[in-house]
């Protein structure tokens, strides 16, 4: 049964080998540092190589957090629709009632979020 995961394992192996190869080549040919302090960019949050445009010390709007949290919550709701879709036909008419009860609360919550301007970007 788990044989079907062999391609995934192969994929992981190829990825691991590629990464290891890049790192090894980098260590051989790249500049060498004794300490991390020699590369200040190594301790920036994303280590992306380019310098920060500005020191981000100002506070960001709480809306960013709100959007992210609502995304996760609605994502969960979406995930739970998937099992329903698989068996909806075999369960028959009761499945319609079940999913309407489920979606009813989702819709009420959505109306609440919408009317509170949680999805408004201004």
């Amino acid at each position: 049964m788990t044989d079907q995961y062999l391609p995934v394992l192969l994929y992981i192996l190829i990825a691991a080998v590629t990464v290891a190869l890049i790192l090894i080549l980098n260590a051989i040919f790249g500049p060498k540092a004794k300490h991390r302090k020699d590369f200040p960019s190594k301790s920036t949050p994303f280590e992306c190589g380019s310098d920060l445009l500005e020191e981000n010390t100002r506070r960001v709007s709480i809306r960013y957090y709100l959007i992210a949290l609502l995304f996760v919550l609605f994502d969960l709701e979406g995930i739970l629709l998937y099992p329903w879709a698989v068996v909806a036909r075999s369960l028959g008419s009761i499945a319609i009632i079940e999913i309407f009860i489920f979606l009813f609360f989702l819709v009420v919550a959505f109306i609440f979020a919408y009317k509170r301007k949680a999805l408004d970007w201004r």
Partner: protein, 183 residues
């Protein structure tokens, strides 16, 4: 030993290593990557146990949505390197060996009991899934069938729970609330 069992143990070790990286890393993104490792290794373990649906959910929800959330917050907070480069508290060097000792002592005790109680473990199936498990166990079809019949109330209850969580998030943020605290 079965190849599946070896892989199961391997992924178990990987997930613990990810957890150690998460706690030990002094760099938030590295910690997040450790967490991602743990989540993916857990998904692999679920797949080994034939819980395919749960494995997929683990990848979509945790490795997908929750990791996006965490990386996004690290980006927004932009913690300065000085803050996370702080050394561990001196209690760490006291507590960590104590914890390790407790864990190993427990494992040791458990293994002693298991040794003396071999009969019970002989009844367990050495492979990861019980031979009594139905065909297509852990697949999306059988999972959904159970979820929407046997655990129907829990399914509906989860939608109310998510509703509560949405209300809680919006209540904390208080977007269109002009009234400030009067203290």
């Amino acid at each position: 030993m079965d190849f599946n069992v070896i892989m199961y143990i391997f992924f178990g070790i990987v997930s613990i290593a990810g957890g150690v990286i998460l706690v030990g890393a002094k760099h938030p993104i590295r910690g997040a990557m450790g967490l991602l490792t743990t989540m993916l290794a857990l998904a692999a373990m679920y797949a080994q146990l034939h819980a395919h649906t749960i494995a997929v959910f683990q990848v979509i929800i945790y490795a997908g949505a929750v990791m996006v959330l965490i990386v996004y917050f690290i980006m927004l907070l932009d913690i300065k390197s000085e803050d996370y480069a702080k050394p561990f508290s001196k209690f760490f060097w006291f507590g960590a060996p104590l914890l390790l000792f407790a864990v190993f002592y427990f494992i040791f005790k458990l293994s002693m009991v298991i040794k003396s109680d071999g009969a019970f473990f002989a009844t367990l199936n050495p492979s990861l899934v019980s031979p009594n498990a139905p065909e297509a166990f852990g697949g999306i079809k059988i999972f959904s069938k159970e979820l929407l019949t046997k655990y129907l109330f829990a399914f509906e209850f989860v939608s109310t729970l998510l509703f509560a969580a949405i209300v809680a998030v919006i209540a904390i943020v208080q977007l269109d609330w002009k009234g400030k605290s009067n203290e």
